[in-house]
């Protein structure tokens, strides 16, 4: 069971309704609706899925089935500075794993986790397509290329304040 309990406000529900209606509440547009909701709220907690289920008349189990199928959808809020390490092949052969290990160590987080203070979250992703810069690390929108394990402390330091 998902224990995160958030309380949606009336205006949040109105927003979700608006999104669903934008897509005519069509079940075939479920993924588009979830994309919009996630970009609006940052993540897709059960409460949001419940409301979407209600408006779109799709069983919430189906929605959960879709949300858990696609790696782009998340049910956990990301950190203020989400850190993603590319673990595509090009980055892998150029040492992404060591960089990832270093981030895990420095942040004391596992992949998919968000720090208790909500500052950083750690995830791995498959190929951002910047293979020339391998290994690549993204912090929010910012890209760091050719990252070595030794650079990790420095990268994090930029967000320490």
């Amino acid at each position: 069971m998902c224990d995160s309990k958030i309380k949606l406000k009336e205006k949040d529900i109105a927003k979700i309704k608006e999104i669903c209606e934008f897509f005519d509440n069509k079940a075939g547009e479920l993924i588009s609706v979830l994309h919009r909701c996630q970009s609006e709220f940052g993540y897709l907690p059960p409460e949001i899925q419940d409301v979407v289920s209600d408006f779109m008349n799709v069983p919430v189990a189906k929605i959960y089935g879709v949300v858990t199928f696609y790696s782009f959808f998340t049910m956990k809020p990301k950190g203020k500075y989400p850190i993603s390490i590319c673990t595509g092949t090009a980055c892998y052969v150029r040492g992404a794993e060591k960089v990832l290990d270093e981030f895990k160590k420095e942040l004391n987080l596992e992949v998919g986790e968000t720090a208790a203070d909500g500052k950083f979250s750690l995830s791995s992703l498959r190929c951002v397509g910047a293979c020339g810069l391998a290994p690549v690390v993204l912090v929010g929108e910012k890209t760091y290329g050719r990252v070595a394990p030794d650079d990790v402390k420095e990268i994090l330091a930029a967000y320490e304040n």
Binding site: K26, S32, H35, S71, F72, T89, A90, V93, C131, G132
Partner: protein, 595 residues
């Protein structure tokens, strides 16, 4: 306004550097100075020419003469003859076949790459439709609508021999024909832009650099099959490509090149975007269609093929980005022209994303039939840091690791399959001597396990078991029986999986077993990892000659496995060592090695 009258460009690529291009530069500069020409002639070091085999390369400007295999002793001759006397140094000109067209503008045949799908990438502003039109954009659509019937258009594609660039290599024209012949109230053209192969970015580059070419091709396809709606299924992880596509669609609509009655032909066609959400399996067309329908991206058994019953159960044609990007040029330049490029069964070119331990990481487009050697050692500029080439993985997680012995294999769909790999979408990852092939196979299986949709048992569970067995081997706990097991599991997973993902996922295992058997044996019998990548198989060893007995290592060892008296050689008890590496870091005398 130019300060210099002439320029001498010397290749500074890794290959050329290895054959003394540095010395050539130094000598050039000195000789020019000696002749008081250094104010008129500039010597510059350039990036790789992609002719590494014939290096070092020197190019003369403004006349564009290229000299190959230049040695430091040739420097004076080049300066005296070419610069001073204005005569070409014949002995340094490229081989006979290239004579007569020795300036680089006409040296096209000298170049390994031909750009068709990428023809506009890096040349036009992708956000300005005028630039696309200026470079002959939408001409093919106009031609098809006005001058050809749908059947004739399909015929051109069929005759061109174009095969799907997404991996499978199915003849595109035939696919279009099936969709055209299917009956349905509504038909759909779908562009598969869910590039999920880790280490591949061909499609993204095309969409970001030349979005209109895809829109134009989709409209042509729609015309041939009688579809009025197109959908582009694109990775949500590609925000820039999405943005450029949206701009392109908007501009095309404004120009009336999408929408109702295109170019007065009576043909209606419009395109919308559908976002993927991060599932590699959605590259498979039935999974992709389910995902577009708002469902879990699980594949279904074919038949029925999408051409009969696809999106919303209507006839649907799915092609990938690169396939579409070839279409306008084929229509404009003709099927024969296209078929003349490449090999007989695999015509045209293929775009590859060249990455890994290679000097010139990048996006390349070569005619089918180019050898791996040409791609890796000429275009790619060879292996980084002068290391030894070990393997190249084509086809991403669905492909296999090819080796030295495959380097001269001409790349085409069939040859790659025969070699135990596949074309895939075009990722090409180069590995060197530091890469452990067992670990590499494990890396790919880790990917497959994560990306399997879970619908069918062999892919859901079998790949996990493959991964676990490989993991066991990399930890030094594998046995020879495990190798047999790997092979049997791989064959069964390939044989029984529901979709292309599972049918190809064991390829990295099988191809490494085939090509690197000794390395597997070394792992399971000698518990050795030559590449030094499998940590559990490494041993920290104290080099007796270098150890001064300072005791620093013994003091830092967290498990107390280093014994030795002061000023005497120390020894590591391998049975206790946890391989943390602390001793090696601590040793000031480089007396600890990893073997």
């Amino acid at each position: 306004m130019s300060k210099y009258k002439k320029h001498i460009m010397v290749c500074g690529g890794t290959g050329c550097r290895a054959s003394e291009s540095d010395t050539i530069v130094e000598k050039m500069k000195k000789e020019l100075e000696n002749r008081n020409l250094d104010k008129d002639v500039q010597v510059v070091i350039t990036g790789c020419f992609g002719l590494c085999e014939k290096g070092p390369i020197v190019k003369m400007l403004p006349d564009n003469t290229i000299y190959t295999e230049v040695k430091p002793v040739n420097v004076t001759e080049i300066i005296d003859e070419h610069i001073i006397k204005g005569r070409k140094v014949k002995s340094l000109l490229p081989a006979d076949s290239y004579k007569g067209k020795t300036d680089s503008k006409n040296m096209d045949s000298f170049k390994k790459q031909i750009r068709i799908a990428l023809k506009n990438c890096g040349f036009i502003n992708p956000e300005v439709i005028d630039e696309y039109i200026a470079s002959n954009g939408y001409e093919a659509l106009g031609k098809a609508l006005m001058e050809y019937t749908p059947e004739q258009t399909i015929d051109i594609i069929k005759k061109s021999g174009l095969r799907g660039r997404g991996g499978g290599g199915f003849p595109t024209g035939l696919k279009w024909e099936f969709a055209a012949k299917s009956k349905g109230d509504q038909k759909y053209v779908v562009c598969n832009a869910d590039e999920g192969d880790p280490g591949a970015f061909m499609d993204r580059s095309i969409l970001e650099g030349d979005p209109h070419s895809v829109l134009e091709a989709m409209a042509i396809c729609g015309y041939t099959m009688g579809a009025t709606e197109g959908l582009i299924y694109i990775r949500a992880e590609y925000p820039l490509a999405i943005e450029r596509l949206q701009i392109a669609i908007k501009q095309a609509r404004e120009y009336g090149l999408l929408g109702k009655n295109i170019l007065g032909s009576g043909f209606d066609f419009d395109i919308i975007l559908k976002l993927g959400a991060g599932a590699f399996v959605c590259g498979e067309e039935t999974a992709l269609i389910h995902s577009m329908e708002g469902l879990r991206g699980e594949p279904t058994i074919k038949p029925p093929f999408p051409a009969e019953s696809g999106y919303n159960n209507m006839p649907t044609n799915v092609n990938n980005v690169e396939t579409f990007a070839n279409i306008p040029t084929i229509i404009n330049k003709g099927a024969e022209w296209f078929a003349s490029i490449g090999t007989k069964k695999s015509t045209g070119t293929k775009v590859f994303a060249l990455a890994g331990k290679i000097n010139n990481v990048g996006l390349i487009e070569v005619p089918m039939g180019t050898t791996l050697r040409e791609v890796i050692f000429e275009i790619g500029g060879g292996i980084q840091d002068g290391k030894k080439f070990k393997a190249v993985q084509t086809g991403g997680p669905s492909g296999g690791c090819l080796t030295e012995k495959h380097l001269d294999t001409p790349i085409d769909f069939d040859n790659l399959i025969e070699a135990g790999s596949m074309m895939g979408s075009g990722g090409m990852i180069v590995m060197d001597e530091d890469d452990c092939m067992v670990s590499m196979a494990k890396f790919y299986l880790d990917f497959t396990v994560e990306e399997s949709c879970g619908k069918c048992a062999p892919c859901r569970i079998g790949n996990k078991r493959l991964y676990e067995t490989l993991d066991k081997i990399t930890q030094g706990k594998g046995t020879e029986a495990d190798l047999d097991l790997l092979r049997n599991m791989s064959h069964v997973i390939k044989d029984t999986s529901l979709c292309g993902l599972g049918q190809t996922s064991p390829n990295p295992v099988l191809s490494t077993l085939d090509n690197f058997w000794d390395e597997y044996i070394a792992h399971v019998k000698d518990h050795k990892c030559e590449a030094g990548q499998c940590k559990s198989l490494l041993q920290y060893n104290i080099i007796a000659e270098d150890c001064v007995g300072c005791t620093a290592c013994a003091r830092v060892c967290p498990v107390g496995c280093i014994a030795g008296e002061k000023k005497e050689v120390h020894i590591i008890d391998q049975s206790i060592c946890i391989k943390c590496g602390a001793c090696m870091d601590k040793c000031k005398f480089n007396a600890i090695e990893l073997i």
